[in-house]
Symmetry: D3
Subunit: 266 residues, 6 copies
């Protein structure tokens, strides 16, 4: 597919060949002294696909199925995403092969700080700027920023995006992906001469992206027929009350445990 | 095997677990503008198994079958080798997946310099010190040293070993591996009460290691019955004239083309 | 008091305990070859109370009664002041125990440059940014900036605030403290429904702060009944002519020597 | 006293005045999350008296009565000690005001690493080189070296002396102070024409210094009448068996608990 | 002349004396392996006249008659030009004594990169920022930026101005000098009460400056009677069609070869 | 001449061409506030002829006739001198165009420190190491070392040779040039079968080189017929008493003022 794109775009074959490869990939071992005194060693990655257009940009994910090939592919996507928006940023991605749900908070902090230490020479505001991704959040970005800043001897907020607002994060970042999607839907409807308010909607996923798009479409007046999360889904032909569902899930509950007789569990 | 060793040595299981993993591996793409104007991209590696005992130490090989797993294994060996000799050095290794025989000298220089550039932040006299290995030699070390030195703005001879003597290389390094082997054979014979001079010898390989061990044993008075290189082998039951064979091969010839009717080609 | 504040604010006791301590204090000896050839050694300080919210920020004072405890307290205030205004800055302060009036200009320059040299590794645009304070001014900031810039090999205007406008200082900084006070008085009067123009005013101090607030209130139309400086004060029930008094003191004169028969010396 | 010395030595008064002051003192707060989850903040110091003759040199002590004045005095002594031996080293000293016996090993490691982090910019092989002192040992030096090395990205054994031999410490350092004392006693006896072997000896203190001097004199043939440690002392007019006592105390026992009916507890 | 200016401006004689000298000049040898295998060595310069007002700013020219004195003079002009516009920049200039028309593109790239390497420690976004000048263009700036960025390990677009727009250059820079001249002519006409549109114009030079001023005045409605380039000039009393001439020359043609019978070759 | 040498040595013409050029030359302005308050600006140089064999090495001279061409030539000589002795050092030289006898000691210190500041980025233990030369001595080296060390924040004795012994200078350096000459004369006499002790000698120059060679030959038993310094010469056919003459000149006196009726002033 990428090759076809390249041809369509009239890219020099040398450039195509170059873009098919990642600039560099770093694999690191992350030994952690667990709460029970044993030593576990996790494998982490940070891949830079291209920094021709600027510092690398891309998230860090913590998941049990993270591997080098996945991270390479995601880093490649970041190059294309950033350049489509003409951002002066390249593409990068990172990850640790770990199930963070099995770690205590202390272990998670240790893992994050050791990983940050291991990649400290290849990240930085001018080089490569991590961000949250699957299973990583503002807290984890704060640990990375702190580890990096301790090493440099001064606060370096520019080393990560997606950090808590209190230490320099951007207001609105939390809803940004969902809101962006909403803008696209809105613009598309306008272009297609469809009235967005009168559409019925099904949303798959109810977290940081799905939850926000559901909320924004619900507030716009759309009827949300069904939503789903990892536990299952809810359906109601008259339209779900998204505001109440969001309160429920934000308290750490699953959709399937939501108690409203009108709704069908699917 | 390594696990058995560890148990024999009474290593803490945490240490064993730690030693089974490499500290870090860097994979880099090395784009080279070939003499014909096309762009080729090679993949290079530099792996550090352990730097607990000191800076990483280990060669760089250029070969078509180099891959990450091989380099990881070789880096691990370097840790064990250095620590057996109580050297304040850790274990590392590097390589590029390329057949250097297919490159012109200009292309080889470009490849070497670009690879050196790509790993420049993870090598250095205090961090990790490359050396020659399969298909790499003093000239290639000189290019690496020059690339590194240009970057630092001053000559840094300590960044590689195995460089030419003129720019700070060690006298005797060329024969060191073969001579070391000779010392071991000599010591073993003494221990076993065998008279080394009266032994008959067959040497497999006739390059930097095999050639030197053949020469040293020949000078000691041993009868060398057979030697071989990539082209084949020579056998003579009265003992080969190693000094003449070495002159022949040092002129770039193969053993199989050596012209002495007494010798059997094998 | 601070403890009460903390409790009122509902601060975590660990945070309170942390905020009661300074992060770091540096004490330095500043040997100066005096104009008479003798060596005098002065003691200087630079204290960082907290850099959690950003680089340290705080003035440097030259005064005979400067001591470590005072500087610590002032650095602590800076943290609170900066965070009340939500500035991305922490709290710091510095000082030298010296009476600058007893130094020649050359000695003062030497003292300033030697002090700047001694603290050079703990100040900087990203770390800790000094500013003028008691007995230090734009000229002294220029010396600090020059000493720092010479060390870095390039002009670094961001290392101090309060420098001369010609080398990057901010326009309006001179009057900023007085003008800020004026804004507060103005806002307070509005809130209290008092007409500021019809108030009578007494101003204690007639320098960088008192002089400016007197001028601004005088220009607003207030009657300034009395002003004072280190020499004494002047009183006139019909209202002093502040513009003339300022011209007088700006020429280096004291208020007590101002010659206007209508005014009472107090 | 020092003034008298200076006069005797014919020092320039400017030099005397300079030597009476320390170059710089850094005071740092060391917040530690204790095992019970509370936050304790300790105060640490690192003082450089003089680096005119080379990098600072001096121990780090952990004790509840450590304070800035003590550390300043000890740093001054180090300058004099190093220069008497014409070592190219200056004088420095550090300490943390803490009772290490009240800390768990984890807390002690955290304290050491945080203290090392806090002084990281003012120590180093070319600047100031810490060493063990009261309540600090090879383990603590190893933590400091590791913290420093992590920050630099490579092993820096030169940042501390007194580290474990395995990571670059000097053989014989453990006994060096006691052995030095022994050499002095030996040389003095020779000078005074006293036969050392026939002397009777009392040793106060039985640790790293006292234990070694007792052992060395005992091995020389002297009769050791009494020794003491923090728990009390032992006396035996026929001479104590020092080798057995050392085995006892090296197992962590006190002298007062040693069970030998011939010995008097004092 | 400069002395007269200084007097008119009331400059302190010390300042005048200071401004008459350049801060520093670096002369470098630039050895290049030519396409024919021979080694040619060129001489290059980079001069900083003054960095009192900010980082040095000034072009790099490649020309056979470049010499140190010329570069010094041009660097001095840059200081005056930047300070007249109150830019926070100082004055600098560089050059290589070479006829770039005699080099192949590969040789030109080698020359540029080697020159950039040789001056790499005295240029930079905070120190001294080169720009295109005689015979240097966006491509050459890109090579300088790439050489500098490779050395720093990250893209540093701020090291040169006049680079291609794709890698961070400024839109409109190409026409900036000509357009600035046009603004001046326009403003002058307005001040002198002359109607610009009705003027007849002769333009000497038809490249980056002359071509643009001709185009802008032509578009404004002026009659351009004559233009000239290195090959000669064209004259037409009814006014030349500048748009067509520009197309012609932009294809790499000379004015003298333009084929229009109405025009006189001069 | 050099070309002839190169041919004799069979040097590659490319290498010859390379050796005929200096690597780099830095020209700096050194503004000094004189004791009378005026500003004088001196011109200084530091030239590196070649650093292929190691860091540059070469003296710094202060003299009124110093110019760029002289310094270039001297730097070139240093390359040849160092490589003849197979030292791992290249060739460099520096100088300031000033008559140091016209400066007060304070002005001389200012000049030296400002010059050292101006060349601070191109000297260093690994890059280029200055030494005393005409009109520069151990004191001036100490100022350079101090300026450099202040900039680096730690004592860097390796930045200059020829510094005072107290701060790391080499014992015997003072007499080294003269003693070297003496060794050569001695060896030559032995080779020519001449008895050195029975020779008569005339020495031109009576400073650091001439004074030492005169002393060493005098102590060997040679008859020194005549010596000379800048003031003139002394002759005595029975042989001068060199030890007394040295005492005289070491007190700052000229030879021509020496009062011994037996000696002829020449």
């Amino acid at each position: 597919l990428k090759l076809i794109c390249s041809k369509e775009m009239g890219l020099d074959p040398n450039v195509t060949r170059y873009l098919k490869r990642i600039e560099r990939a770093l694999i690191v071992s992350i030994p952690i002294m667990m709460d029970d005194g044993s030593l576990q060693i996790y494998e982490g990655y940070r891949v830079r696909h291209s920094t021709v257009r600027g510092p690398g940009k891309g998230g860090i994910r913590f998941a049990p199925n993270v591997n080098l090939d996945e991270v390479k592919a995601l880093a490649t996507w970041m190059t294309w995403k950033c350049s489509l928006l003409k951002l002066p940023l390249g593409g990068a991605k990172g990850g640790v092969c770990v199930n963070p749900r099995e770690l205590s908070k202390k272990e998670l902090e240790k893992l994050t700080r050791r990983y940050a230490s291991a990649i400290i020479n290849i990240i930085g505001p001018d080089i490569d700027i991590p961000a949250p991704d699957v299973n990583t959040n503002a807290q984890i970005m704060a640990w990375i920023m702190d580890t990096y800043s301790m090493n440099k001897g001064r606060a370096v907020p520019g080393v990560v995006t997606g950090k808590p607002i209190e230490i320099g994060g951007s207001v609105g970042r939390n809803s940004a992906t969902g809101r962006g999607l909403y803008f696209i839907i809105d613009a598309m409807c306008e272009k297609l001469n469809i009235k967005l308010e009168s559409q019925t909607i099904i949303v798959q996923g109810f977290g940081n992206v799905g939850g926000w798009i559901a909320r924004l479409l619900y507030e716009r007046g759309c009827k949300i027929l069904a939503v789903s999360d990892i536990s299952g889904g809810l359906h109601y032909s008259e339209g779900l009350e998204i505001d109440k569902l969001l309160k429920w899930t934000q308290q750490g509950n699953y959709l399937k445990d939501y108690n409203d007789k009108r709704y069908n569990l699917i």
